[in-house]
């Protein structure tokens, strides 16, 4: 057994109000540069919906993630290394900008420079890539809140086979939000797809990064990631991705998306995993067993032997202590309420979700009277085919049982705490009925309902003193800029001054400045 520490996140979907604050703050920190306008390390999707990029979950088309070959061995869905080399001149599985959207801004300048006329001047949309006027036909949240659901939600990949149950008619519609970041998978297919060896997992916390200096623009990580969370910077020709805000994590601070989440729905923590059994866990024949297989990799930090082994494998004591208090371990394994996104991709993702009760409840409102007791609600969960099966289509490889089990525990917790608050006491039996102890149930309440800052984020700091050399990894860390000194576009659109020195990079990477002016006012 070789133990590694792996950083993970759990999002409690019941609390997501779809405000996109996480996306905006993330973008302001990481992807407000030219070449990354369309890049959303964090985005929030409305489900049912097509996702971003559109239909990214359709692996028949994009060939992301892993599959088992006929001998039951794990292999990349997109094909082997030889096939990659053969198609290196044109990657057949790569989405184009049109599958995302062409980023745009507005011609605000026109509002003040337009000549006098009888009508109001209009700031028309212009492409941030080309600077040309753009007809807006798609965007990063085009189907937000079920907008245009006749044509968008209807095409949701997760709805396939459930068309009858998951209705999109107005009266029967339900929706939920799904915030997504990079999964920082234990078995990342993007890393395995990278021909240059530029992508790697950090040994100390499992964060997946792109070495910007080693990336050679082969773009197989983009198509290899089934979540489409590796993006291609069209300006630099290098892949970029969510880095789990590791500079913040190293200092013990939560990611920007977590910190700014108004619903406080994100939890961050360390899990001790058995890294020797990763391949075995990812190769279980039945997709429905993947959840349990991944959970079996999460070692119990209360087990003294696990702790001793972790220490032998070089994990620092404060990290082991953090693993004991980890909200990710608690929600995923101890309480068993969090589920991974699309486990069937076999990447063993590390961003998990507590399924939302709200779509269930909205249905209950239609079918039950408001004073229905917990038993009635249980009965309803059991009977409901929607939206349990729909949730299962992306949270448990289509197996409704883990979703039901999670929802049952969440309902029980509510009923139990409600009884305790109203009557001063509650029956322990309700907890036992869903396989939990009263202590666990109350702790779960603390974690998912109260969710104090220090319960949500249990982040041990990086042991920088143990690093061989911090400077050696400069440029290898997933962040770099074409021109030293010019690190982000000036939002005010100020013109760039002339470069002080001759810089070869200006010739090599900077596009020519067209006479007609450059996009987004730069």
């Amino acid at each position: 057994m070789r133990i590694r520490a792996q950083m993970g996140m759990v999002m409690n979907l019941d609390k997501c109000i779809g405000c996109h604050t996480c996306s905006v703050t993330c973008k302001n920190v990481w992807t407000n540069r030219r070449g990354t306008e369309y890049v959303w390390f964090n985005n929030v999707e409305t489900k049912p919906g097509r996702g971003y990029p559109r239909d990214y979950e359709d692996q028949e088309r994009w060939k992301g993630g892993w599959e088992l070959d006929k001998h039951g061995r794990l292999r990349l869905r997109a094909g082997g290394k030889l096939k990659k080399l053969a198609t290196i001149f044109h990657n057949p599985d790569l989405p184009t900008l049109d599958d995302y959207y062409e980023p745009w801004t507005y011609d605000y300048e026109h509002l003040i420079s337009a000549p006098s006329s009888d009508v109001q001047p209009v700031a028309q949309p212009i492409s941030q890539v080309t600077g040309d006027p753009l007809k807006l036909e798609r965007g990063p949240n085009w189907d937000d809140d079920l907008a245009g659901s006749e044509t968008s939600a209807a095409l949701d990949v997760d709805r396939r086979g459930l068309e009858e149950q998951v209705r999109i008619e107005f009266e029967q519609a339900f929706m939920m939000y799904l915030p997504r970041i990079c999964e920082h998978c234990i078995n990342p297919s993007c890393v395995a797809s990278c021909p240059s060896g530029a992508m790697y997992k950090r040994e100390e916390d499992g964060i997946v990064l792109v070495d910007q200096e080693a990336c050679r623009s082969w773009r197989y990580c983009v198509s290899g990631c089934p979540y489409k969370k590796v993006y291609f910077n069209w300006q630099t020709g290098k892949a970029e991705k969510c880095n789990l805000c590791y500079p913040r994590l190293e200092a013990g601070l939560p990611t920007v998306c977590s910190e700014t989440c108004v619903g406080r729905l994100r939890h961050l923590g360390v899990v001790l995993i058995d890294s020797d059994r990763v391949e075995q866990a990812a190769s279980v024949p039945d997709e429905h067993d993947l959840l349990q297989a991944q959970l079996s990799l999460f070692l119990d930090p209360e087990d003294p032997e696990v702790r001793a082994q972790a220490r032998r494998d070089g994990i620092a004591d404060d990290w082991i202590e953090a693993a004991r208090r980890s909200p990710v371990y608690a929600l995923a394994k101890r309480f068993g309420v969090a589920l991974p996104l699309h486990p069937e991709y076999r990447t063993l993702p590390m961003v998990w979700y507590v399924p939302p009760l709200s779509p269930v409840e909205s249905l209950i409102e239609h079918t039950l009277d408001p004073d229905a007791g917990a038993d009635d609600v249980f009965g309803t969960i059991e009977q409901l085919r929607i939206p349990v099966e729909y949730l299962a289509s992306f949270l448990s490889a289509g197996d409704p049982e883990p979703v039901r089990a999670s929802l049952r525990r969440l309902m029980t917790m509510r009923a139990y705490m409600r009884a305790k608050n109203l009557h001063g006491e509650a029956e322990a039996q309700v907890a036992h009925d869903v396989g939990m102890s009263v202590e666990d149930l109350e702790e779960m309440y603390q974690q998912v309902a109260i969710a104090d800052y220090h319960d949500r984020y249990v982040l041990p700091k990086r042991h920088g003193e143990l690093s061989a050399s911090v400077l050696v990894d400069q440029g290898a860390c997933g962040i770099d800029f074409t021109q030293p000194g010019v690190q982000a576009p000036d939002p005010a659109g100020a013109a760039e001054g002339p470069a002080e020195d001759f810089d070869l990079r200006r010739y090599l990477v900077e596009p020519m400045r067209g006479e007609e002016g450059s996009p987004d006012g730069r």
Binding site: K81, L85, I88, F89, H90, N91, P92, L94, T96, L97, E102, S127, V129, T130, D132, N187, V191, A192, C194, P195, S196, G197, M199, Y200, K201, R202, E203, E204, E213, A214, C215, R216, S217, W218, R219, F232, W234, T236, G237, K238, G314, H463, L466, S467, A468, V472, D473, G475, A476, T482, L504, R505, Y507, L508, V509, E510, P511, M512, S518, P519
Partner: protein, 231 residues
């Protein structure tokens, strides 16, 4: 000997090679971030599919043909029983197919770069120079190939030994004295392309991911005490 001949057939090649070598050394050390193919497939994929595949496969085949025609001495092909006549047919047909594919591919790529505004905005001055020299190299190469098919020029008696002389540091510019114009122009332009190579996106050629076949699927890099795995 004409000073122009020495300039063209001795000085230019060695100067180009010197720039080629030191340029690569310099850029590899100083500009890892800029080193790569700088793919534009994200911005436009359909035309690239045909253009890129045709161009790359054609160019690779053409390079193979050059190796055969220039580096393999005539005595060797004669020894394995490949007569002049059959060599000429193979070289002519192979050259036309490979060069034709590369030319078609390049035309598609140039058209694509000019036609799609998204691709156009990513074009650097260096790209324009690279495309220009590539186009000139390939078109003059086609010219030489076609000229050679029509009227056989025994380049294996002139260009090839001259080139091998460059490699053995014993260049004989007089060998190039009587070569047809197409060959002379083609050869000279390609030296310029070599000189430009290290500063262009062509450096991606040296990053063919051979290592991929040896690497384990999941790479780890540790901050603690581990040597950094590079490329």
């Amino acid at each position: 000997m004409d000073r122009w001949e020495i300039l063209l057939w001795v000085v230019l090649p060695y100067a180009a090679v010197a720039v080629f070598v030191t340029g690569h050394w310099f850029r590899y050390r100083r500009d890892q971030y800029g080193w790569g193919a700088r793919s534009t497939q994200l911005l436009e994929s359909r035309a690239l599919r045909y253009g890129s595949n045709l161009f790359h496969l054609g160019a690779l085949a053409a390079i193979g043909g050059h190796v055969m025609g220039i580096l393999v001495p005539r005595s060797l092909t004669d020894a394995v029983g490949l007569g002049e006549r059959s060599y000429h047919v193979i070289a002519g047909v192979g050259g036309l197919v490979a060069g034709g594919a590369a030319t078609a591919g390049l035309l598609i790529l140039v058209w694509r770069r000019a036609h799609y505004p998204r691709v156009r905005v990513t074009t650097t001055r260096m790209d324009v120079a690279t495309f220009g020299l590539l186009a000139a190299s390939i078109l003059t190469g086609m010219w030489a190939t076609i000229a050679n098919v029509i009227d056989e020029a025994l380049y294996r008696e002139t260009v090839a030994p001259w080139f091998r002389g460059l490699l053995t540091l014993d260049p004989d510019p007089s060998l190039m004295a009587g070569v047809p114009l197409a060959f002379a122009v083609h050869v000279s332009i390609v030296w310029l392309l070599y000189a430009l190579w290290p500063f262009s996106r062509l450096v991606h050629v040296w990053s063919i991911p051979i290592d991929y076949f040896r690497r384990s699927p999941i790479s780890y890099r540790g901050a603690v005490g581990a040597a950094r795995a590079r490329r």
